[in-house]
Homo-oligomer: 147 residues x 2
Amino acid sequence: MAERSLSKPNDEPCYCGLTRRASRSLTEIYERELAPYGITQPQFSLLRAASNSAPMGITELALQLNLDRTTLGRNLKLLEAQGLVVFVANQHDQRERLVTLTRSGAKVSKEALAAWQAAQALIRRNIGRQKLVALEQLVAEIDALVS
Amino acid sequence: MAERSLSKPNDEPCYCGLTRRASRSLTEIYERELAPYGITQPQFSLLRAASNSAPMGITELALQLNLDRTTLGRNLKLLEAQGLVVFVANQHDQRERLVTLTRSGAKVSKEALAAWQAAQALIRRNIGRQKLVALEQLVAEIDALVS
DNA sequence: CCATGATGCGGGTATCTACACGTAAATGCC
DNA sequence: GGCATTTACGTGTAGATACCCGCATCATGG
């Protein structure tokens, strides 16, 4: 009964390594499409998140994206340098800076949407909706483990 | 029939964003366990890969891990600085440097294995084997799209 | 009103990742 | 054998990510 563990000690796949690997592959696919718009996949995700809700503080947005606050801050700074987002002061709290899309940011986000949809369609076509729904649920369960 | 797309234009989840998010969460979980051994999850993956096969060149190992060659080179350099791996010249090809675990590298890899297994068990316990097998297959299909 | 703690944020540092470019060695073709 | 091509690798640059530490502002108890 110990034979199995003796002959194949560590062939169990690392779930973390698998997922990191998948994220690298998917990022490559998505960024091939997004390249013409001069933004990366994480940047597109940020623009999308910012455009789909009322202006939010960095900490709040980071919580929603399950991203480190300082990471998000630095990523947003790059978008600010490109003129795609601006930080608006919160009148009721001097500490908070509300992330807001500029007109240019909204434009890029809107245009790049087609590229993103192309990548989404490619994945759906090759993987299938059913597995992708399962992926969505799986990620939710994984996220729940760290919250 | 256009109503659905009008009322919910873009609520489709980004498969790339989902996967990147999952990789962040999982990395956090694994690195909590690995921290006492002074290595990160990617570093542990590298040690594991290097110890599970004959010495390999950087390009070959990068191909196997689906990692950019230069990325792998830099990651290995950090392990070299920690004395966990060394580069051995290939007698038949002066260009190639064969990645080899040091005694210390093998020791750390072996000791950290328990930490990794704890993380693996945590995930298995909370997610379930069936979904993890599905994940494994899904990642293989995604990888196939970029090869 | 003021001291204390909580909150929002930035900077320093470090690792992971990839692309563009350049160099040296091996290979192959004539 | 000699030269073009391919192969293996490094460096420069840049973005994504997270931890630690410090600062300014807000909220609260006395």
